[in-house]
């Protein structure tokens, strides 16, 4: 393997460009980008994916777009290759099975150390909601009454 400084990576590697070449403004390109983003989101976010998962996700996005193009043609009354459509669908299904079809929750809960650091820095509980006496009291009231009233 040849290591390379981050700034020397390709634009695709750096995330600045979706394709090595080609026009990202085309309808097909934009649809590809949307499907890829949805797949990555379902898998818990692009930052949680390995390179292998990212690559399979791209294949899934491309196969999905290709199927959608064929569907558009079919409903427009143009010739429809049912065998090719079936093959694409099967391959898409297999690729998705490797990737995982179920949605994955994105873990946004900070660990205790990060939480304490963030609160010590004066941030507003980093999106968890400010801690107030009212919060505490209402939570306590929800959970149970006090001693002798449990």
């Amino acid at each position: 393997m040849v290591s390379r400084a981050p700034e020397g990576g390709s634009k695709v590697t750096n995330g600045r460009q979706l394709f090595i070449d080609g026009d990202a403004r085309l309808k097909v390109s934009r649809r590809f980008r949307d499907v890829l983003a949805s797949i990555a989101m379902d898998l818990g976010g692009v930052d949680r994916l390995s390179e292998g998962q990212k690559q399979i996700a791209r294949r899934c996005a491309m196969l999905s777009v290709e199927c959608e193009i064929m569907e558009s043609a079919a409903v427009a009354g143009q010739p429809f290759d049912l065998d090719a459509y079936g093959q694409l669908t099967d391959r898409l299904g297999r690729a998705f099975q490797r990737l995982g079809l179920k949605r994955v929750m994105h873990d946004v809960m900070p660990d205790l150390g990060a939480y304490l650091t963030a609160t010590a820095a004066g941030k507003s509980q980093d999106g968890l909601g400010a801690v107030t006496t009212a919060d505490t009291t209402s939570a306590a009231e929800r959970s149970a009454s006090g001693p002798r009233g449990q």
Binding site: L116, V131, T136, A140, E141, G146, R148, Q150
Partner: protein, 186 residues
């Protein structure tokens, strides 16, 4: 033991133990726990402390032992559970544990059934605080295992028997209703 969150902060933070002992009715327990950790009290809290303990002031340093004489329905189990969770999640024990050694925060009760009540409270407090729930790595019938800043800490509950506590490295221990424990002579 090195706390990295004060007991006062933990008990007032809704993301930590704020829901465990919140509200006016738990104020006396909060005062006791804060004082036991060596933290200063406010004047109002000190009045409660004095009423409960007969002492003029809080100790000002973390106590080695805290003995409480509490009547029925006094909130013992829940307060104990909050203390156990605090000791297991918001304090470090690097000085006491060698690499790979598991520290045990132990609760002993007269019977295993009674100790289970405390463990259920512990589980409830942790589940109510997702930040603490993230630390749980394993739940067993008589214990909760947590990953605390590079160390494994186990909150364990046991029946009070000298046989059941052998081989544990206890970093803290709570003796629930010790007045009702049976000695070897019955």
């Amino acid at each position: 033991m090195t706390p990295f969150v004060t007991m006062r902060r933990a008990l007032s933070d809704g993301h930590l133990l704020g829901a465990a002992l919140g509200g006016d009715s738990w104020l006396a327990w909060r005062v006791l726990l804060i004082a036991a950790m060596g933290e200063p009290l406010t004047d109002d809290e000190r009045a409660i402390f004095t009423k409960l303990t007969g002492r003029e002031r809080e100790p000002g340093e973390r106590v080695d032992e805290l003995w409480c004489v509490i009547g029925r329905r006094g909130g013992k189990s829940r307060a104990i559970a909050a203390l156990l969770v605090y000791l297991a999640t918001m304090a470090g024990y690097r000085a006491q544990l060698v690499s790979g050694e598991r520290g045990v925060v132990l609760c002993l009760a007269r019977t295993q059934e009674q100790s289970q009540v405390v463990l259920e409270y512990v589980a409830g407090i942790i589940e109510a605080a997702p930040i603490l729930a993230e630390m749980v790595t394993r739940r067993a019938a008589d214990s909760l295992t947590l990953f605390n800043r590079g160390a494994t800490i186990v909150i364990a509950v046991r029946a009070a028997s000298f046989r059941s506590v052998r081989g544990l490295t206890c970093v803290a221990a709570v003796a629930d209703e010790i007045a009702f424990w049976q000695g070897e002579d019955g």
